[in-house]
């Protein structure tokens, strides 16, 4: 794994952008761009990133950014890649940077099309499990029982296992990452850059605004997602699956922290603890942890 001191010093995520204090999206973007070192065209559908990259005529990112419609990121990226091909500029990475809403929900069709066509690009879904841009509505990535402004008393369905849908397209590279482990994230983007074909990076990132936790707790919550086994770090080059070293330990349910530790720091789950503890719902989320492990391991190994 890259040592922090070996990462390029150059910053592509510039100071003074409009992100909230404690925004983990900025952590993800910062490390991804350090890995790509500027030779990239970034396509961004409607999402927080399209807002925080700043107001015209300024830009908060030191790379070319093409904003596009909410459902159209992967299609737009296909066009960018085709144009680069037409012009013989094969070295530039085309990267989509899309939220979970723009990936799991409205952008899924375009994503599927681009992957099936084996478009040479990197699709990054930064997953804060909610529509943050528009003020915390549920998405297909919102977990069971999370409160949002369209599921006021908790979502009644679990999140969509998008990774399986993506895997069905047999991408050249597929990985999960988490902003609490930025060096790992950096390595994964670097690896993706060297592989030709459709690549998918799914980044889990806490959002203080939508999840309702104190801004300084982002890294802690991100780690708890892994330590409770809720989020699994893994990587797949072709069909070679590798469990991430952060998650390996937590394959054993005995070693996992109880899901409660992850939940109780977040306002979106506070109704599971107040006024009385809802053991049943907490257990359902606990069971989901094992369920995801089972499905992932069964599918990929």
């Amino acid at each position: 794994m890259v040592a922090t001191k070996d990462m390029p010093l150059k910053e592509y995520v510039l100071k003074g952008n409009a992100a909230c204090a404690g925004c983990q999206d900025m952590v993800a973007l910062r490390h991804a761009h350090k890995a790509l070192e500027g030779d990239v065209i970034q396509v961004v559908p409607a999402c927080c990133t399209s807002v925080v990259q700043s107001l015209w005529p300024k830009s908060g990112l030191g790379i070319p950014v093409l904003n596009t419609a909410f459902m159209a990121a992967a299609a737009t990226a296909s066009g960018v890649r085709a144009a680069l091909k037409a012009k013989g500029r094969d070295h530039t990475t085309v990267m989509v940077w899309a939220g979970d809403g723009g990936t799991f929900d409205i952008g899924l069709q375009a994503l599927s099309g681009a992957f099936e066509r084996r478009t040479d690009f990197l699709y990054v879904c930064y997953n804060n499990q909610v529509y943050s841009n528009t003020g915390t509505q549920r998405s297909g990535a919102t977990p069971l029982h999370a409160a949002t402004t369209t599921t006021w008393f908790g979502k009644t369905e679990p999140e969509k296992m998008l990774d399986l849908i993506v895997a069905a397209h047999e991408p050249a590279y597929q990985a999960t990452a988490n902003t609490s482990y930025p060096r790992d994230l950096y390595d994964k983007v670097k690896r993706a850059k060297e592989i030709e074909g459709p690549k998918f990076l799914h980044i889990f990132l806490p959002c203080p605004q939508a999840w309702n936790y104190p801004v300084e707790k982002g890294v802690e919550i991100g780690k708890l997602a892994v330590e409770t086994g809720y989020w699994i770090q893994w990587e797949r080059i072709g069909d070679e699956f590798k469990l991430g070293r952060e998650s390996k330990r937590f394959q054993d349910p005995e070693k996992r922290k109880p899901i409660e530790e992850f939940l109780k720091l977040q306002g979106r789950f506070s109704h599971l603890f107040k006024p009385t503890k809802d053991e049943k719902k907490i257990q359902e989320l606990q069971d989901y942890v094992q369920h995801r492990w089972d499905v992932i391991m069964r599918t990929f190994t």
Partner: protein
């Protein structure tokens, strides 16, 4: 009826309760988002017991409404800007299927660049879908026009979807008093939806939307066109009934203010029309014979009303908060074309401004009206199109 204090979006969600809507399918987009949020809230609280579908896009929102309406349910959605644009295919579908869906559109600029404030391009560019379109100027008018919209849409002489437009933020997020009606009160006005011709029902199987050859396609389209035009007359009836029942009247297709003896009238759509009343009052005090015609209904276009107004005045300052790019102001163009086949053709000037949410104050409106007054006094039309307060 009881007076409540709410934003237009919160009130729209209450209209869903009042009108006993059975299915809502909606997707978030600023500044319409608080409509589905409130619908979700009322639903989860058990205050509104319809079905709320949390769809994955606006295209799906409108098609879910189409599915629901085809199966005989009263259906509603709310959206804005790019969301409305993404519905475009479905909007055409709903009209040609003759489904009385009601849509609350919160007018917002379209992208790029991202801008969440009001421009009317989103709804104006749906002009030719066949949807009936209203533009409102207050929270109260928004709430009641949504209720009226169901009655209009479901009338057998119409059977077309209706879009009720309200300006983003100016109305969607501005709290005003409005008069809420309990569903039991609205029952007197709005009976349950009962599809008169077809519905998805295994007891009485029909298949809808099949292939139609050239020998008949045109006839279907003509029926749709004629039904749309009926809406002007039917809406007048509806407003009269509403006035009798609830004491509310918003002015029919065009809300005229001090137009009777006016020499120059100002036309506009949406919340600016409320502002324009103040501008007209001030100008009247300054001695100008001016009036304000707030165009509430854009489709069907109130041809006769415009002609009647136009026959009495010397000049019309037609303001658009949107543009048909490459031609001009949407409504100004319609007014010009409507006045062509008449004996008395007033001077018509098109004004465009307030785009991207730029404020149009009383002072701005007065400037526009005075520019028109000057043209009338001098007898020179001057520029046919003026972009108000355009930066160099």
């Amino acid at each position: 009826m009881k007076t409540e204090l709410m934003s237009a979006n919160y009130a729209a969600a209450r209209a869903v309760m009042s009108a006993r809507v059975e299915v809502v399918a909606a997707y978030p987009i600023t500044p319409a988002t608080t409509v589905p949020e409130q619908v979700a809230y009322l639903n989860e609280k058990g205050l509104w017991n319809g079905q709320f579908i949390r769809v994955e896009s606006e295209h799906s929102a409108m098609f879910a409404c189409i599915g629901a309406s085809s199966t005989g349910a009263r259906a509603f959605t709310a959206t804005s800007s790019n969301g409305l644009l993404l519905m475009h295919e479905a909007l055409h579908w709903a009209t040609a299927a003759r489904l009385p869906v009601v849509l609350a559109n919160i007018n917002r600029s379209v992208s790029p660049s991202w801008n969440i404030h009001v421009t009317h391009d989103d709804s104006m560019s749906q002009r030719d879908t066949g949807w009936i379109q209203f533009y409102v100027a207050s929270v109260d008018e928004f709430y009641h026009t949504i209720i009226q919209a169901f009655k209009l849409a479901e009338d057998e002489r119409i059977l077309l979807p209706v879009m009720v437009n309200a300006d983003g933020f100016v109305l969607s997020h501005t709290v005003q008093p409005y008069d809420y009606l309990e569903p039991e009160e609205v029952d007197k006005f709005l009976p349950p939806y009962n599809p008169p011709h077809w519905t998805m029902d295994p007891e009485n199987p029909v298949s809808h939307g099949n292939i139609v050859f050239p020998e008949f396609y045109q006839e279907f389209r003509n029926q749709m066109h004629e039904a749309g035009k009926n809406a002007l007359m039917v809406y007048e009836e509806i407003e009269q009934e509403y006035k009798k029942l609830f004491g509310k009247y918003f002015g029919g297709p065009i809300d005229c203010y001090r137009c009777d003896d006016a020499e120059v009238i100002f036309t506009s759509q949406g919340s600016m029309g409320a502002e324009a009343k103040d501008a007209v009052d001030e100008l009247r005090q300054e001695g100008y014979k001016v009036g304000n015609a707030r165009i509430r209904m854009f489709r069907p276009f109130p041809v006769d009303k415009i002609r009647e107004l136009g026959s009495k005045v010397k000049g019309i300052a037609a303001f658009d908060r949107g543009v048909s790019y490459g031609f001009g102001g949407h409504v100004a163009s319609e007014i010009r074309s409507v006045m062509y086949n008449t004996d008395h053709r007033p001077m018509i000037k098109s004004y465009i401004g307030g785009l991207g949410g730029r404020d149009m104050t009383v002072k701005d409106i007065k400037e526009v009206i005075l520019d028109m007054v000057k043209a009338v006094e001098s007898g020179e039309t001057g520029a046919e199109e003026t972009w108000h307060a355009l930066k160099e």
